[in-house]
Amino acid sequence: MSLALVLEQLLNGVQFGLMLFLMSAGLTLVFGVMGLINLAHGSLYMIGAFLCAAVAGATGNFWLGLVGGIAAAAAAGALIEVVVIRRLYTRDHLDQVLATFALILILSEGVRMIFGPFPLYLNVPDMLRGTVSLGIVEYSRYRLALIGFGLAVALGLWALIARTRLGIQIRAGESDREMIAALGVNIRALYTIVFALGAALAGLAGALVGAIQSVQVGMGEPVLILAFVVIVIGGIGSIKGAMVGALLVGVIDTMGRFLLPRIFASFLDTSQAMGIGAALASMLIYLLMALVLIFRPKGLFPAHG
């Protein structure tokens, strides 16, 4: 086990964490501002990936595809907010879970009807192919770009929320919905904008990850569940919590899968160590989430005191 290998896995963990952050940011904003659990957030991720693959396939340009994927996810988000989600804000969590579960069924089948049952493939853009040397390790240029992209978007999101008028309204909405409506903010429009913003971030994540995985129906749900783990660990409604949670989950999951089988192999025979190590590694982040909830029931950075 060389240092270069460990470093490579660590970078993979950070890259994975930053993509999870893009997913979690929307989810945590929507919960923080509107009090809504949105299971269909993974479907928006899927829509972003499919549209990116379709546009990139038709035009041969990845960046056009990326814009198409983000736009499609944001539009789909705004549409389902106006048609369905808006009716759920005053309902209890059970109704929200069920209605958005129904949306997953509808959106997954819808995408399957439009794009067919087979996975699409999305190529990494030419300028980001190959590897780049980082001193002791040769690292994938595309994955490194994803890290940069993730950090840039996180910075942009921070600026949006901390420095703009929309950001002030979002923060006000998180602490007191009725008050900002009374102050003359168009709360319905604000909700639609926040939901579409979250959807755009999910679509962006889907499109970016789509180039290193296959683009298929059902790709959103595993990521969705991880994003829920992230926001529960970080504290629901907190963007900072989502960032910390996403990096924790990304790095712990990646390093666990890499290190645990090797650690067990030092005192068990190889096949047994692989089995136990892999089984334990896949449970690690859920264990982390359970521990956080037991000791900090509102997550690491509780948004509402």
Partner: protein
């Protein structure tokens, strides 16, 4: 006719239909329909289990597939060892349903005790998410644990046996499932009518008032959660025997979602809600699945409509609001 009598009539009708349709199929030699009815009965048992936690106690568990899977794996592992004649932890395997059910309920009850004790420290969305997290742990554990098939699942070569019946015959297996369903419904009705049920429902409606009159919310909820997990575990063992196969898919989060869907479609907290819900779900799958490969789109639309516009489910639609909703 008042709503209470309407609900009783509807319940009797559902119970009779679930018996008469496979009975007719038995006479007419239509084993496929008998198997469908058996699936409905077993899913309904799982639903009755969840209905104790969710319907009576208001605990939205998004991880009940865990108990279904535990029950399934108990049946699968016992049968696997019985088939190969190998011991497990020094004990022989078994192919008898009755001891398998007992072990399945014991294990799922024990896990539900741990999950419940930890999860009930939280509430609301956190409860939903932590129950989901525990189920995901089970899912990934079975997925990556190679001893019992891992990702590929574990087949049950010979269906486990029930004394006096031949479970290889669809009709006799149906009788077993139907009998257990009626027993479980009896347990649910008894619980709901007992002081325990009254306390549980009082806690759901207002935990502070319940505490003020001397009911400890945590203990009552935990017992309900354990009972709920045990019954769903029992259904899991039966489900494994019906399909003669267990796999991690039984613990997948979509399965947890389906169990909630069953209760919502039928009617939350209603005695026969899970029966109606399971019948709707399986019926929908078979009917629309035969018409179009995109039947899930229609299921989604119906579910959305029920959540948005018909909150009492089928039984609520026919028999009005719940008496103690």
């Amino acid at each position: 006719m008042d709503n209470l009598r309407k609900e009783w009539l509807l319940n009797a009708l559902l119970a009779a239909a679930l018996f008469m349709v496979p009975f007719w199929a038995w006479i007419a030699s239509e084993p496929f329909i008998i198997t469908l009815a058996t699936r409905i009965a077993i899913l309904a048992i799982a639903g009755v289990g969840l209905n104790i936690a969710l319907g009576l106690g208001g605990m939205v568990s998004f991880g009940h597939a865990l108990y279904l899977g535990i029950g399934g794996y108990v049946a699968g592992i016992a049968a696997h060892h019985a088939f190969h004649g190998t011991p497990i932890l020094g004990l022989p395997g078994t192919n008898q349903m009755l001891p398998i059910w007992a072990i399945a309920m014991l294990f799922s009850g024990a896990i539900a005790a741990i999950v419940g004790a930890l999860s009930l420290r939280t509430s609301g969305i956190f409860f939903i998410m932590i129950t989901l997290a525990f189920a995901q742990m089970g899912f990934f554990f079975t997925l990556s644990w190679p001893a019992y098939g891992g990702e590929d699942g574990l087949p049950i070569f010979m269906r486990n046996q029930f004394p006096g019946l031949n479970t290889a015959r669809p009709w006799e297996l149906f009788l077993v499932a139907y009998g257990v369903l009626i027993l479980t419904l009896g347990v649910f009705a008894t619980l709901r009518a007992a002081r325990f049920g009254a306390a549980l429902m009082a806690i759901r409606q207002n935990p502070d008032r319940a505490a003020a009159i001397g009911i400890s919310p945590f203990g009552i909820k935990l017992v309900a959660f354990i009972l709920s997990g045990m019954i769903t575990g029992l259904a899991g063992a039966m489900m494994a025997d019906l399909t003669r196969f267990v796999s991690p898919a039984m613990m997948a989060w979509t399965m947890s979602g389906e169990l909630i869907v069953i209760i919502i479609l039928g009617g939350v907290g209603r005695l026969f809600g899970p029966v109606a819900g399971a019948a709707i779900l399986v019926g929908f799958e078979v009917f629309f699945g035969g018409l179009t490969e995109h039947w899930k789109l229609w299921l989604g639309l119906v579910l959305l409509a029920v959540v948005l516009f018909a909150r009492g489910g089928l039984i609520g639609l026919i028999a009005g609001r719940a008496q103690n909703g």
